[in-house]
Structures are given as structure tokens and as C-alpha cells.
């Protein structure tokens, strides 16, 4: 059977439509079906993150941003991540980013998962007093290293004082 539209290729899609109670049968080749927006193959699963990133991008280019919910203008104080970095990679830089960009993340998670609240297993990290101190110390030292690297000397001095107290 030839395609009802181009009359050249074999019809492989058989489309039944009902309009005003009348049934129409249309036989189309793959190309003509695609031109009419009829899906003939299994569509790849949509990736909600991709859609979100696109939405964020449009919001930014449309000028509706600011340091509000979108997180524009913010910078993570642990890993120096910005929204622009996130848009480029689709990945957060560290656990602290979830606090820095909290409002935007909540919206993002709602879009990706349809929800923003974890209801699974709760967790408490192991924390003996000495472990707590050493992990806080480790984190401060890490931040100090980063502060020095990015030449934020005032922050570095402040961090150094805090490390001294803990030590």
C-alpha cells in the first residue's frame, strides 16, 4: 500500500481518526507521518533535568533572575560553585551547595521528582566528640586551602583563627 500523502513510499503507519463521528483511515509512510507529528518509534525517555536546565536558562536570558529563587549571583562558600557552573555541568559542586542554592534547588527537585521532601531512610552521621572536632577541623582546613587558592585573604585569616581555636 502506498502512502496516502506522497503516493511514493510504502505506508507503514495506519492512522485512525474520529472527527464529527466519522471515522477516517489514513495510511502514511514514516516520513509523512513524522511531518504530521505522528510518532512512529519509541521516544527516548525525557530527561527532566534537561528541561529544567533549559527553563533556568530561559529565565536568565529573559532577565528575570536576580539573586532570588533562581540563585543567580550566589556563590557557594565551600566550593565556589555558581548557578552558571551548575547550568554548564548539571551537577552541584558539594553538599554545601544544597544550602547555598536552597530555594532554587527546592524548585528544581519539585520539577525533577515531583517532590522536594525526602521521606526515605533517615540518617545520622557517626559523631563522637573527637570525630566531630576533627571533621570540623578538616572542613575548615579545606576551606582555608580554597580561600588561599582564590586569593580571598580576609576569609583566609578568619578561617585560620577558627582553626587555631579548635586546635
Amino acid at each position: 500500500m502506498l502512502c496516502d500523502s506522497c503516493h511514493e513510499r510504502d505506508a507503514v503507519v495506519h492512522l485512525t481518526t474520529i472527527e464529527n463521528n466519522a471515522v477516517h483511515q489514513l495510511h502514511l509512510c514514516e516520513r509523512c507521518a513524522a511531518e504530521r507529528g505522528v510518532e512512529t518509534t519509541v521516544a527516548a525517555p525525557k530527561h527532566p533535568l534537561g528541561e529544567f536546565l533549559q527553563a533556568v536558562h530561559q529565565q536568565v536570558t529573559a532577565g528575570g533572575g536576580g539573586a532570588g529563587a533562581s540563585g543567580e549571583g550566589l556563590r557557594c562558600n565551600f566550593c565556589n560553585m555558581t548557578m552558571a557552573d551548575f547550568r554548564a555541568t548539571g551537577r552541584w559542586g558539594c553538599a554545601r551547595c544544597y544550602t547555598t542554592f536552597e530555594a532554587g534547588i527546592r524548585e528544581l527537585l519539585r520539577r525533577v521528582h515531583g517532590n522536594h521532601r525526602h521521606v526515605g531512610r533517615a540518617y545520622r552521621p557517626p559523631m563522637s566528640e573527637s570525630l566531630e572536632r576533627s571533621s570540623a577541623l578538616g572542613e575548615l582546613k579545606e576551606r582555608l586551602r580554597r580561600a588561599i587558592e582564590s586569593e580571598q585573604f580576609e576569609l583566609a585569616a578568619d578561617l585560620r583563627d577558627r582553626i587555631r581555636v579548635l586546635e
Binding site: 552541584w92 559542586g93 521521606v119 552521621p125 572542613e139
Partner: protein, 361 residues
């Protein structure tokens, strides 16, 4: 240094021994948990030194975790590409961790701990990727094993956790439970009866998704699909697994029904097609990977339909793994060009089928 797979307790292939429920349709079940260690930038943003410290901290903890204290550790960053490809082909490490995905460089500190049916990848996209792998349809067993490992490890290494968002991950699509359950399933009946489109579309409405043989970004080949949960947040681990359990159970029923319909309505056509697939595998002198997968899919269906009775599902599972490029090079003991790989593949498949042939037909 090249990898010595004989060190692994089960050669790393215990998951394809064809045991477990529905093993002629469901090859394997895998559950993975994504976790990050508190106090470091996530892997993608961490420097070499940080990743090495993460590895050292995890290594120390692993030594006292019961299910991993006898695990074999491989430093991916110290292995040649062929060995890394071998581990990837056995589904023991991701393409990203093996530095083979073409997007991420091989990372300093990339490592994997492997024990019987359990794995722990370090410095993947997240600091930790715990995985449990089981033969057949075995979500509950896999979850019991991974949950135990997670609790043991999490009481020794502090994970990044947020009261509202749950376990924190580099990619927002994994946050919350950090859990992805996936079932590797063979659906030739649904493909041949052209029902597959409907089934796959309905998966998405149920919050599930599908991928090819090697997970994210991989193509569907040989009618093998990996069905997994799409979302990780807003529902508990049990709810997510329960949903996956019910839907996959339903897909298995649909597949079984499609196979019955095929036999009933197109018996001799199907029989002829499947025997031709067997004949090609048995006698071909050169096979590309896609060809081999497609014919193996046919033969697997023939075994499921009991048209071929002297071939075991276990042999077919092994062929899926051992007819891949890195495994062929490993068996031949040298690097192979593409055409040499195709020749070696045909030779390997022929030999395996000959050994089991006996009175096939």
C-alpha cells in the same frame, strides 16, 4: 599492571548464573545507592588530593565492614584501559569510573571494592556508589544486602545528608534516597509483537524509565532493557522498590503472554527465525557485537520457548559477557583490531555452542 579477575570470589560474574526468579526473562537485578562523604567537594569539583583522601578514609572504614572486609580493591587509575574495559564489560564498574565514557577523564583516586555480589565504587560522580547485583529477579534480596552495607559503612564514614532533601548527590536526579533499582530484562516477545512501544510508554507514566544494556546513555541492543525507577525523592526506598517490583512483574507477564501469542499465531515463522539465529551463531566466521547480541537474543528466546532444550541460560548469559571486545582480547591474550575482534567473537561463540550442542535439534 593488569587486572587479575581470578582474585574475585565469583570471578565477578556470579550475577549471571541464571538462578533466581524468572531467570529466562530477567537476567539480573541491581540496586545502587549514591552517597557522598561529608567534608569534601563532590568528585567532579574535587582536586586530586581530596579524592585521594576520600579513598583513604573509605579504605580504612571498609576494612572493618563485615560484607567488604575481604573485598578485592582495584585502583582504576592504575590499570591499563584494557583491564578497565574488562571490569566495565562485567558490569562491575561504570563507564565513567573506568574513564571510558569519552566525557570524563580517568580520575585520580578512582577505585572499586568488589565482594560476592557487592560493589563499592569510589570517586564516581558521587564519592560512593554502593551496588548489589543478583541473578534473576531479586529486588528484595539485593536491597537487604545493600541496605546492610549502607548502614555498616554509614556508621563509619559520615555521609552528606540533609533533613529535607535526604542523601545529597552531585546530580539532582539522584538526591533523596540516592537509590536506583534496575532490572535487566529480555523482551523479544514484546518487540516482535510490536507491543513494546506501549509497554515502554506506560513505564514512564509509572515513574519508571528504561535504558540499554549498559545503563544511562547506552542503546538498546538484543532486546535487552534495563528498567529502573526514575525518581529518587519523595518516596521511601520500600515504596520505590515496591513500585518497580509490581511493574516489572507485570512486564514479565506481558512478555510471557506475547511469547504464547507468537507461538500460537506464527509458530513456524518464529521457529524458523530462531533456528536461523542459532545456525548463524553456530557457523558464522565473523560476528559484529550487534549481530551477536541480536542472534543471542533469538537463541535465548528459543531456549525460553523450549524450542532448544540442550542449551542453558547460564551459557547464554556468559556469551553476552565473554563475547565483548575486551573479554575477547583478554582471552586471546593480545590487542585485537576490529576485524580480528569479529573473527575472535565468532570463534568463541562457535566453540561455546559446540561444547553444549550434543543433540541440539
Amino acid at each position: 599492571m593488569s587486572v587479575d579477575l581470578s582474585l574475585l570470589p565469583d570471578g565477578g560474574v556470579g550475577w549471571l548464573d541464571a538462578s533466581g526468579q524468572y531467570s529466562d526473562i530477567v537476567l539480573s537485578t541491581r540496586i545502587r545507592l549514591a552517597r557522598n562523604v561529608e567534608g569534601y567537594a563532590f568528585t567532579g569539583r574535587a582536586r586530586d588530593g581530596e579524592r585521594l583522601r576520600v579513598l583513604a578514609q573509605v579504605r580504612e572504614a571498609v576494612a572493618t565492614v563485615p560484607s567488604l572486609n575481604e573485598a578485592v580493591m582495584y585502583r582504576l587509575d592504575e590499570l591499563p584501559p584494557t583491564s578497565r574495559a574488562l571490569l566495565h564489560e562485567r558490569h562491575l564498574v561504570s563507564k565513567e569510573l573506568a574513564g571510558l565514557d569519552g566525557q570524563h577523564p580517568l580520575r585520580t583516586g578512582a577505585a572499586v571494592f568488589l565482594a560476592d555480589g557487592l560493589g563499592l565504587m569510589v570517586n564516581e560522580e558521587d564519592h560512593l556508589r554502593l551496588q548489589a547485583l543478583r541473578s534473576g529477579f531479586a529486588l528484595q534480596e539485593a536491597f537487604a544486602a545493600i541496605d546492610k552495607l549502607d548502614r555498616d559503612l554509614g556508621s563509619r564514614v559520615p555521609y552528606s545528608f540533609h533533613n529535607e532533601f535526604g542523601f545529597l548527590t552531585a546530580c539532582p536526579t539522584n538526591v533523596g534516597t540516592g537509590m536506583r533499582g534496575s532490572v535487566l530484562i529480555h523482551l523479544p516477545g514484546l518487540v516482535l509483537t510490536k507491543e513494546i512501544g506501549k509497554v515502554l510508554a506506560s513505564l514512564q507514566q509509572m515513574g519508571l524509565t528504561y535504558r540499554g544494556l549498559y545503563g544511562e546513555g547506552s542503546e538498546v541492543v538484543g532486546n535487552f532493557f534495563q528498567i529502573s525507577n526514575q525518581t529518587t525523592l519523595g518516596r521511601s526506598e520500600e515504596e520505590l522498590l515496591d513500585q518497580l517490583l509490581r511493574v516489572v512483574g507485570h512486564v514479565v507477564e506481558r512478555e510471557a503472554e506475547a511469547r504464547r501469542v507468537l507461538l500460537r499465531d506464527a509458530g513456524y515463522i518464529i521457529e524458523d527465525k530462531l533456528w536461523r539465529a542459532y545456525g548463524t551463531l553456530r557457523y558464522a566466521r565473523s560476528l559484529t557485537f550487534d549481530e551477536a547480541m541480536n542472534y543471542l537474543s533469538g537463541v535465548r528466546l528459543a531456549v525460553g520457548l523450549k524450542l532448544i532444550s540442550t542449551l542453558s541460560v547460564y551459557t547464554l548469559n556468559k556469551l553476552l559477557i565473554f563475547s565483548q571486545a575486551a573479554h575477547l582480547a583478554y582471552t586471546e591474550g593480545r590487542a585485537l583490531t576490529e576485524s580480528e575482534t569479529n573473527l575472535a567473537r565468532a570463534r568463541y561463540v562457535r566453540k561455546a555452542l559446540e561444547e553444549e550442542a550434543g543433540s541440539v535439534g
